[in-house]
Point group: C2
């Protein structure tokens, strides 16, 4: 899960689209002026969003874009995954884990990045466009009472 401003732009645009969704589709030039994003850049983002099945397009004058599903069924994680490059997997991260697990000393941090990716995905896929619109950013994750992690507790872990 890559986190760049590119994904942010896409989410901003999609939230704008969800907000102004009515009978008529929403044109990119409207979104561009409202969100202050370059129109051509938006076109590129929406090309990816369309290919990912998140939006549907209506061509011709009066046309524009519509959410393919409802705003309550479109998750932020999907948007970011759609527009971001799948990251180059520079060393061992994210790939099949095999070929990295072999030499454990070299890749002690593998589990860490994997778990971090899980956390991010978990959070972003728990938020829908509707949630953002209605500002329901659920504090859905609760910190367990384990305050000091200097030692002790939770020793065995598979």
């Amino acid at each position: 899960m890559k986190l760049s401003t590119k994904g942010r732009y896409a989410v901003m645009a999609m939230v704008d689209l969800a907000r102004h969704a009515q009978a008529k589709p929403v044109s990119l030039s409207d979104i561009a002026t409202r969100q202050e994003i370059s129109l051509s850049y938006l076109e590129q983002l929406f090309a990816r969003l369309r290919r990912a099945g998140l939006v549907k397009s209506v061509r011709g004058p009066g046309g524009g874009y519509r959410l393919a599903r409802g705003s309550a069924d479109t998750r932020v994680s999907e948007i970011i995954l759609a527009v971001d490059e799948p990251i180059s997997a520079t060393r061992c991260t994210e790939m099949g884990a095999t070929g990295c697990r072999a030499d454990r000393s070299k890749c002690l941090t593998h589990d860490l990045w994997e778990e971090l990716g899980n956390q991010i995905h978990l959070f972003l896929s728990s938020v829908t466009l509707l949630d953002v619109l209605e500002r329901k950013l659920a504090p859905r994750f609760i910190e367990a009472p384990a305050a000091a992690n200097t030692e002790s507790s939770m020793a065995a872990a598979s």
Copy 2:
């Protein structure tokens, strides 16, 4: 909280340092060969880590680096914050929030990114170098029973 491979390299090196910590300091060339990272690149990373007070250096032959604090007192979040550029705050994100809150329609996603940053920081600051070494990646975050977030629940939120 930026997430690049740069931060990953730094954490890999720091974990390696913590793992091989003994009476003598650990030289960067040792870490470089073990982790397959360019020596000069490591030097640049450790220059930042030293400035951030995470490691201490010993010059001269037989010298190298030591953790400034213990491995149980060095958090992954600190390492990443030390080496990564503070990101250019391209539009509204991360800066003082003022000047963005003004026009709410433009920055509906502000809260989202802020909360995401919180989640990431919370996770990474809950993991110490010792945790990584001992593979205690505490599942410290528990998903609340809120399964379907299509609607309902948790309406009022300030």
